[in-house]
């Protein structure tokens, strides 16, 4: 029996850096891209040796950055490296992240030919004012056109939406979501706008040039959107993710279920044989194959299970915990009494009403160090 595994490939390039982005992505020259892809393909070929024929790939996810900035030749080179070195199920979920601006019919055809079957589009908002303020290269019109184009080739399309942008209350968000669903989008990821220091948006906020929603408004807007999506028939299968039945992201679900995965590329993470390890996040160290790893203690494994399980609609199976005895935790007892947590047949779930406070709740269920 072969073990199933997921593959993540990181493409750190963007056409343009977004105002809120504190992530490891950059604009690169063609030469830099070529160099990176060479390293990446080398890494895939090299690392694949340890898997030989004991593994079979169930999902592939090419993320970034913006993978759609790669040309057809470039993306083909990467995908070929995967197919050359791994056994991949015929029906494996294969996602690529794309930004409306860099999507073209040619690329869509190319992806299709590479057996990509899911596209995640970084829409973020359909408000032109916000799109320009946060430094996205597309307009709402372009986003809609490109999504239509994507839909011509792909049935399984996801969009990202940001919550907390200036002037975008729940009503606005629902309007945007409605537009997306009408275009045949099957999956929506909603994230709060997070503000990091040393980003352009941080300075804009400091200088009162940008006014994101306050915490309470953000939560109200998010909840309104969540209700809307629920009514539209999408299931909130994770804190930030909504999907029509059968359209959940299998790749991300694998992360949350603590399934095994291997990541390739800059700062990509892997989880194999109970060990987590990740590549360096700067190109020089990456070139030299620098990785960091973490052996999880039994307690830390339990903490992961609790953290990931409670963020999903599946919940956490208390029988799977090896060290942490939740019943001895006074917070756990309180949360059950207060209806913050529910327990049914050994499965503990977080009441979705409290999703937005999940950090407090989950960390209180962790072990004292």
């Amino acid at each position: 029996m072969r073990k199933e595994i997921s593959i993540y490939v990181h493409i750190p390039f963007c056409e343009h850096k977004c105002a809120y982005c504190a992530f490891n992505s950059f604009c690169a020259t063609q030469q830099e891209k070529e160099n990176y892809l060479k390293l990446l393909c080398g890494e895939i070929a090299e690392k694949s040796k340890q898997f030989s024929n004991k593994y079979v790939v169930k999902t592939i996810y090419i993320g970034g950055g913006t993978p759609s900035v790669l040309s057809c030749e470039q993306i083909s080179e990467v995908v070929r490296a995967i197919y050359d070195n791994f056994d991949v199920y015929d029906n494996a979920e294969f996602t690529i992240e794309a930004n409306p601006h860099s999507i073209s019919e040619e690329k869509l055809k190319c992806w299709k030919s590479l057996r990509v079957n899911r596209v995640s589009v970084g829409v973020q908002t359909l408000s032109d004012k916000n799109l320009s303020k946060i430094g996205r290269l597309h307009t709402s019109k372009m986003a809609i056109e490109k999504i239509k184009l994507v839909r011509k080739y792909f049935a399984n399309v996801s969009c990202d939406l940001l919550v907390g942008l200036e002037g975008e209350d729940g009503k606005t968000l629902c309007k945007h979501a409605k537009q997306l669903l009408e275009l045949g989008i099957k999956h929506i990821s909603c994230y709060f706008l997070e503000i990091y220091q040393n980003t352009p948006i941080f300075d804009m906020i400091q200088n009162k040039k940008y006014l994101p929603l306050g915490d309470e408004e953000q939560v109200a807007a998010f909840n309104k959107l969540a209700n809307y999506l629920k009514d539209a028939g999408l299931e909130r299968y994770e804190i930030s993710n909504f999907a029509y039945p059968q359209f959940e992201s299998k790749h991300n679900s694998n992360y949350w279920a603590r399934g095994e995965y291997v990541g390739f590329g800059l700062s990509a993470h892997s989880f194999l044989n109970g060990k987590r390890f990740w590549n360096a996040d700067n190109i020089d160290d990456y070139k030299n194959g620098v990785t960091t790893s973490e052996e999880l203690s039994l307690t830390e494994e339990d903490e992961e299970k609790i953290m990931l399980g409670l963020r999903c609609n599946l919940g956490v199976d208390v029988k799977s915990l090896k060290k942490i005895d939740l019943n001895k935790n006074p917070y756990f007892q309180d949360y059950l009494k207060q209806g913050i947590l529910t327990q049914e047949g050994g499965l503990v779930k977080l009441n979705p009403m409290f999703y937005q406070m999940s950090n407090t709740i989950i960390s209180n269920l962790f072990e004292d160090k």
């Binding site: 993320g63 990821s189 997070e194 309470e216 700062s267 953290m307 006074p330 207060q338 950090n359 962790f366």
Partner: protein, 601 residues
């Protein structure tokens, strides 16, 4: 051969800020005891805390060698604290001396506290040498100060040294006055050893160190000593003097001040006020010790990290060694876990001890609001002493409560009399007397409940008189009062550590202040939390903390589970400073903030 006629044992009595430590520094400098190179400001204030607060808490003895008329004199200076809380420490210093310098600030004159300590010194038959300090200040009123010394205290101040300790002016006159006016000690080396332990501290290598004044006999390394009060015997490992750091010597003889180390590992074996003698040919009678001092202010002390309970216990035991007035007994709080109910001489003492626990013993502690000890008479005739509000019996079982009262003297320039009377009125004071000491100084006498004094009396007095008034108090018994217990409910659950006993007329105000303060300091919880103050089942104040809105991690990039877990672990770590009352989390700081209620009104 040591010559008693060339020894002087003396201390300095002064009000806070009148320049005692600065004078001590000058004396040390002038006699060359510490080289300029090693000199640091206020050298005898050895605790970091003392230097910071500019007050002296611990006595630090030092030996000065002074040449007078071509002969060498040994002057043992025993520094004293100046704050009202530490009268006890002062009396300890006094018994080891034959004389005292009374240091008076030329611009401030005689203060309430100075007077109290001078009386103490007179009670101990000490020769008092008045010295007027800060003559360099433009506001110096030298003649007025002299007059006050003569009129208020009744000492001749005609030819007293007028100095500026800060600038070193006339400080040599002080040294001369010490030799000329203070009598030399009387003692006999040949008599059985009688040495008074006037202080002690703990050294990790040498064990408990006794600071002693030898009255009769001699003591040296190798001697078998007997503590007359505890009956314990030890072999002396080392004797020495303070210069001001410890310096080993061969022998300590009658009249001298120094220390004895004897590998004393059990802290409680050393009692300040005990008499040391030799097991061979022991002294028949002990020296008059100190009266056991009664603490007047109480609070619970707990560790932020409950697991550090034993560390707290060790630390309190070590502090107790050189602070006999500190009392503590175990206490359990449903909110704060295991800790100690501690008794102090006053609020400053409380503050000093808690700060020392944090700094010297590296403990994170929580203290509950200070309280006094009440006499609670039950309907069944029983009397309970209650210093912990949560131990107050239910109202139906109480026939009456008596609270400790103090008689207070307040010294103030006349223009503040009105403001002070208003304050005393507000603090439920009973007016006793008012007297003009001179044109610029009035003495007001009030009987005040101690519970009001420990609340915010110091600060209010200071702010209403621009710091010009000084005050002193002494215990004056117990008086019945209409007192009630105010409880704090968080989400309907009582938080025992926040209960207070207050006068019924003040209960509403205090309750409102407390709930408002807690609202500010308690972070938002997962649900709305009402904060209520109540007397029995009657709610007297209420605030609400609205529910937390957002505390969530968004996206995890490319399967980076580790970052997410570590963030949450860090959040958990931050919770260590939180206490749980029922289902409500309170930061430890909340408890402290009750203590400092008056500060940011």
């Amino acid at each position: 051969m040591k010559d008693l006629s060339h020894i002087r044992n003396f201390c300095i009595i002064a009000h806070i800020d009148h320049g005692k430590s600065t004078l001590a520094d000058r004396l040390i400098e002038l006699t060359g005891t510490v080289s300029k190179r090693d000199m640091q400001e206020q050298i005898l204030d050895s605790m970091e805390l003392e230097r910071e607060k500019g007050i002296t808490i611990k006595l630090a003895p030092t030996r000065l060698v002074y040449e007078y008329n071509g002969e060498e004199y040994i002057l043992n200076l025993i520094d004293t604290p100046g704050h009202v809380d530490f009268t006890y420490e002062v009396s300890r210093s006094l018994t080891a001396c034959e004389g005292a310098i009374l240091l008076v600030d030329a611009s401030q004159g005689v203060e309430a506290q100075t007077l109290a300590n001078t009386y103490l010194a007179l009670d101990n038959n000490l020769e008092i040498v008045p010295v007027i300090n800060k003559i360099d200040l433009p506001s110096a009123r030298i003649e007025d100060a002299k007059n006050e010394i003569e009129e208020v205290i009744g000492l001749d101040a005609d030819d007293c040294p007028c100095i500026s300790a800060k600038e070193g002016t006339n400080v040599d006159q002080v040294l001369r006055a010490i030799v000329e006016k203070i009598p030399s000690p009387i003692g006999d080396d040949e008599k059985p050893l009688k040495a008074l332990i006037f202080d002690s501290h703990y050294d990790n290598f040498k064990g408990a160190i006794c600071l002693i004044r030898v009255f009769d006999g001699t003591v040296k390394a190798g001697d078998q000593i007997l503590m007359l009060q505890t009956g314990k015997t030890f072999e002396v490992t080392e004797v020495g003097i303070f210069v001001p750091n410890t310096k080993q010597t061969e022998i300590l003889s009658a009249g001298e001040v120094g220390y004895v180390a004897a590998s004393i590992k059990t802290i409680s074996d050393v009692k300040v006020g005990d008499t040391i003698t030799l097991t061979e040919n022991p002294a028949k009678e002990a020296l008059a010790g100190y009266k056991e001092i009664q603490p007047v202010v109480f609070c619970g002390i707990f560790t932020v990290d409950g697991a550090k309970y034993n560390d707290l216990k060790d630390a309190l035991e070590k502090l107790k060694l050189n602070d006999a007035s500190l009392q503590f007994s175990p206490e359990v709080s449903s909110a704060l876990g295991f800790g100690f109910r501690c008794g102090f001489l006053g609020l400053l003492h409380l503050e000093i001890i808690t700060e020392r626990l944090e700094r010297e013993f590296d403990l994170d502690i929580i203290t509950t609001a200070p309280s006094v000890s009440y006499h609670v008479y039950k309907t069944n005739g029983e009397m309970l002493e209650v210093s912990n509000p949560s131990n107050l019996p239910p109202q139906v079982e109480i026939s009456r409560i008596e609270e400790p009262i103090v008689s207070t003297s307040i010294y103030t320039p006349p223009e503040y009399v009105g403001a002070i009377m208003e304050l005393c009125q507000d603090k439920r004071g009973e007016y006793k007397d008012m007297q003009y000491l001179d044109k610029k100084r009035v003495e007001l006498k009030y009987i005040l409940p101690l519970g009001e004094i420990i609340y915010d009396f110091f600060d209010s007095l200071k702010s209403r008189t621009k710091g010009y008034a000084s005050f002193d108090y002494e215990f004056a018994g117990f008086m019945p009062a209409e007192l009630v217990k105010v409880d704090l409910l968080l989400n309907g659950e009582k938080c025992d550590a926040l209960s207070l006993i207050v006068h019924k007329d003040k209960a509403y105000n205090r309750g409102r202040e407390l709930t408002e303060r807690l609202k500010k300091i308690i972070p938002r919880q997962l649900f709305e939390v009402p904060i209520q103050a109540c007397i029995g089942s009657k709610i007297i104040a209420r605030e609400t903390i609205s529910a937390m809105r957002k505390d969530v991690l968004a996206k995890c990039y490319g399967g980076d589970i580790t970052r997410k877990r570590k963030l949450l672990e860090k959040q958990k770590e931050g919770k260590k400073r939180m206490r749980k009352i029922g289902s409500v989390e309170i930061p430890s700081e909340a408890f402290m903030s009750i203590l400092k209620l008056d500060q940011d009104k």
